[in-house]
Symmetry: D2
Amino acid sequence: MRLHVPTPLRWSDLDAYGHVNNARMLSLLEEARIQAFWVSAEADENAAGASTAVLDATPGADTVTLIARQEVEYLAPIPYQRQPLDIELWIGHMGGASLEVCYEVFSPLGVEPRVLYTRAVTTIVLVDSATERPRRIDDREREAWQPYLGDPIVFRRR
Amino acid sequence: MRLHVPTPLRWSDLDAYGHVNNARMLSLLEEARIQAFWVSAEADENAAGASTAVLDATPGADTVTLIARQEVEYLAPIPYQRQPLDIELWIGHMGGASLEVCYEVFSPLGVEPRVLYTRAVTTIVLVDSATERPRRIDDREREAWQPYLGDPIVFRRR
Amino acid sequence: MRLHVPTPLRWSDLDAYGHVNNARMLSLLEEARIQAFWVSAEADENAAGASTAVLDATPGADTVTLIARQEVEYLAPIPYQRQPLDIELWIGHMGGASLEVCYEVFSPLGVEPRVLYTRAVTTIVLVDSATERPRRIDDREREAWQPYLGDPIVFRRR
Amino acid sequence: MRLHVPTPLRWSDLDAYGHVNNARMLSLLEEARIQAFWVSAEADENAAGASTAVLDATPGADTVTLIARQEVEYLAPIPYQRQPLDIELWIGHMGGASLEVCYEVFSPLGVEPRVLYTRAVTTIVLVDSATERPRRIDDREREAWQPYLGDPIVFRRR
């Protein structure tokens, strides 16, 4: 099963070429990931659904999420558009203390033809704030994320 | 009359102090302004209402909008929150070739107590792309923006 | 007396119009200000000279610097260029717990003709991290900054 | 042979965790890459040396550089520091119309012990502005870049 996270662009995401900047894309993926996985005090408003949002990784919390690795394929340039991008998000692998979040970034819902702009994967390590060492994914997290396990992305260029 | 432009935050808007960065606030105002004033091919989805969106200032268009001046008062630090900020937006002055856009940035709609985070004004000059000189606000623009004329902001610190 | 802080651009400072973005300019001013005023463990490398750098406002320090107000006039568009901008920086006013930092942003040193791109002022309030209340500028700070007191900027558009 | 591109940080590169943000790292790599490969009107000031800077890919030029793929490993968090990061940069592969730029991001020159913060690779495709199709790396470019060909990065996590 995949989450669909509507992710709005800003005009300032464009660079001098007039398309969404390649580095800024990772900020969009970061935002989609936070919407999907982070506990929110305002969980009812969480567009991505509350069920996966079990990770309290806000500054000051017990867990820090470290980004260990990212891989991104840019398939088509992205123009500024007002409707949010449709970012599909799932988990390609769940390890002991880490997980791989996979993304496919599509044109806004309802816009035809549907365009796949970007595919990416982020490896996240859960780190205990106190010990600063990796900590295991706990049972509640594992249970919440299990339904979103899917095939990892096979990248075209490698 | 004021426009209400719901403007979502991103976690990456925070700086190392854990609040929305002072420079990034101007990107949020920029986005609200674009939502409000720029012609959109997808006008029906325009959260700010289509009536003020008569300015075609996208790259390649006949008009370029130059920012001549900005003034911002930061009244309270802004934490990350999932619901969009409620940016009120109106026109404090309409000149020959320029206009002053005024903003009050509030906490998300429905959150109590309502907090006024920031007040700001942006002076925009309309520039003809071909001649690179200021061009007059035309009748259609003036008519569309007239209902949103209001008192300019009186800043506390000056 | 004015400080000269060489401040490098990045290509990513440009927006879709191909010039340094208006909001990003405030990040450049922020960086120049930090170079000038913040204590550095590597003070010898401080391009702006070590004498004004007496403020320990890094996260975790006793003082937090809050931005209370900014005013910016954009006089000419700024293209990408490899040599650092020459940001002149001085103090327009020193109050009890606040100071006004003034900036004039010029084209790189040695490039002719010299262009004044931007003028700006930032009002900074020193806040005690523990009490979260403004704290007075202390004697050491006042002494260090005194030589850089100068006339406040008179903005053209107001 | 590797290029060494000194790349200054900004305080605004930090995120709410107080370290250089993972997405922002790609802007730093972008800037190092531009310093190294783009033709500059001010070539004498090019910190990376003028010899590799043969690519005129500024907006309006005959060539657009598209980013097709990026892979990044984050090995250690990066604090704010005033001295520029030491980014080593070489070419892992030169194809017909594309090249793979490899990076190792180190702590500033002279700081001991030397820390390897990040390793990354970017696949760039040269695109003809007029036809919008990939164009071959020409002889002058190939000759300029040949000395910087080296072994591609072998990533630890895959």
